[in-house]
């Protein structure tokens, strides 16, 4: 209902025109905050109609909280992974460095051991030995020779024996001024006087190439077994008597003939050695006698 106060002029009348609906609405709008002040003051518990809303709000809050925790956790893990990765790389680098050092250390240790053995051998032997290093191999695969770094100017002569600590290597066949060519006992052209250590049966060890040899002219009545040690005979005046030459790998008794067919392999693999000795004077060294004396002792 509009109460219209009529005065002079339309504008003034419009000003007094009062709308009840708007008035109620404005009153409610002002009253609700006042109610809320009252509600806050009175109760510490959630009002019944606020409970579902509160529940929903809490749920959403928890959801986002767990989500944020998840995100934070994942981010932290990712950052950790990055850190681990870089740490892993550093550790790997350190490990490879240590491995390289270890390898050098082992190589040095091996070299020290090898040189110590060589020096011990030289000191304990009464032979005059010239130490030499292997610097080359044969040009063709059909022959087995090596080149050493000692020659005529170091006192090397043709047909001098070349040995290593544990066995015979070969003999000098062509000395040059500063190098010498050594024929290995496994070369096809090599012939060495030999005897079987166990039975003292004499024979001739002939090279067959590719780390093989054959012991010829051993009487068929001799007792020769696989694994027997063959040593130098000493008759050829090149090698000292009783120094290891090879090992028996196979024995055959021919149906015809008076000798055994004995296959051997050298004690020394010339592809694996680096240092050798050239015997300049054997001084009548007899390793057979030496080994027997040691046995008796």
């Amino acid at each position: 209902v509009n109460f219209i106060f009529a005065f002079e002029g339309g504008a003034f009348l419009n000003f007094l025109n009062f709308n009840f609906k708007k008035g109620i609405l404005i009153t409610l709008l002002l009253a609700l905050p006042l109610f809320s002040i009252n509600m806050e003051q009175k109760s510490t518990q959630t009002i019944w109609f606020a409970q579902p809303i509160s529940f929903l709000a809490d749920t959403l809050k928890s959801l986002f909280a767990s989500l944020s925790n998840g995100v934070r956790g994942t981010t932290a893990e990712y950052l950790n992974l990055l850190k681990i990765k870089s740490e892993n790389q550093n550790l790997k680098m350190q490990m490879s460095l240590l491995q390289a050092r270890m390898q050098v250390y082992e190589e040095n240790q091996n070299e020290i051991d090898r040189l110590r053995t060589v020096l011990d051998f030289k000191a304990s032997s009464k032979m005059d030995l010239i130490p030499a290093q292997i610097i080359g191999r044969d040009l063709v695969i059909d022959h087995e020779t090596i080149t050493i770094n000692k020659g005529l100017k170091h006192g090397i002569k043709t047909m001098q024996a070349v040995i290593s600590v544990s066995g015979v290597v070969g003999y000098v066949f062509r000395p040059e001024i500063s190098t010498s060519h050594v024929m290995l006992i496994s070369d096809r052209y090599s012939v060495v006087d030999a005897l079987i250590h166990k039975s003292r049966a004499h024979g001739i060890l002939e090279g067959q190439g590719k780390n093989r040899g054959i012991l010829q002219y051993v009487d068929r009545t001799e007792d020769v077994m696989v694994g027997d040690l063959i040593v130098t005979g000493g008759i050829d005046n090149i090698f000292p008597k009783g120094f290891p030459l090879g090992i028996v790998t196979n024995v055959e008794k021919k149906s015809k003939g008076t000798s055994l067919l004995i296959n051997t392999r050298p004690v020394i693999d010339a592809n694996k050695i680096e240092e050798v000795f050239v015997i300049s004077n054997a001084n009548q060294e007899d390793f057979l006698q030496k080994s027997e004396t040691t046995k008796k002792e």
């Binding site: 191999r137 059909d142 020779t145 024929m183 070369d187 067959q208 190439g209």
Partner: protein, 193 residues
């Protein structure tokens, strides 16, 4: 006085033989010392043999067989191989290559590599056969090592051919250079026509 006796092309030829001999010795030294000390577990490729193949193929004169004999002598300084084996095997190699090169007119690196492979096999057969004839204690087949050598010879023949071709080009005689120039001059004229 000496310059009157020896012409420029003769000097070039002599220096060519000297340089190629030196290179041959380098190859032999590399094969016997450097390779076994580093890669001792694999047999070395036969650099010297590929060099011999190159000389047989690219140096056309028949009297180069004497240079091969000289190379054979050099080989015996690096090996236990007797001179008779070196010379006979090289003679056969020269004869076989001479027979084929006049029938196959191809001068490419691929042809040379294939020829190196084939001749490596032929050389091995020749050596084994000659060893049976001439040596008291003949060589055996040694199949694995030889097969590896064949393969390696095939592989190294490419860089060796390239290197020796470069080296050979320094020692071309005046006649060869003039021949090349003539060919180069003629070709565009023919093209224009």
């Amino acid at each position: 006085m000496i310059s009157k006796l020896i012409s420029k092309s003769d000097t070039t030829q002599i220096s060519k033989y000297l340089v190629f001999t030196f290179v041959f010795m380098l190859f032999c030294a590399f094969e016997t010392s450097f390779w076994p000390n580093l890669i001792g577990f694999i047999p070395a490729p036969q650099f010297w043999l590929v060099f011999v193949f190159y000389v047989c193929v690219r140096w056309s004169e028949r009297w180069n067989i004497f240079f091969l004999y000289f190379l054979g002598f050099v080989v015996t300084l690096y090996s236990m191989m007797p001179l008779k084996m070196a010379w006979f095997s090289l003679l056969f190699v020269f004869a076989i290559i001479y027979f084929f090169k006049n029938r196959i007119h191809s001068a490419s690196v691929v042809t040379f590599s294939l020829l190196s492979l084939a001749m490596s096999v032929v050389y091995a057969i020749i050596y084994v056969v000659l060893s049976q004839i001439f040596e008291n204690n003949p060589t055996t087949l040694i199949p694995v090592e030889r097969l590896i050598c064949f393969g390696l010879n095939f592989l190294v023949s490419v860089p060796i051919y390239w290197f020796l071709e470069r080296l050979n080009s320094f020692f071309k005689t005046d006649i060869e250079v003039n021949e090349n120039k003539t060919i180069k001059n003629i070709t565009p004229v023919q093209h224009d026509l």
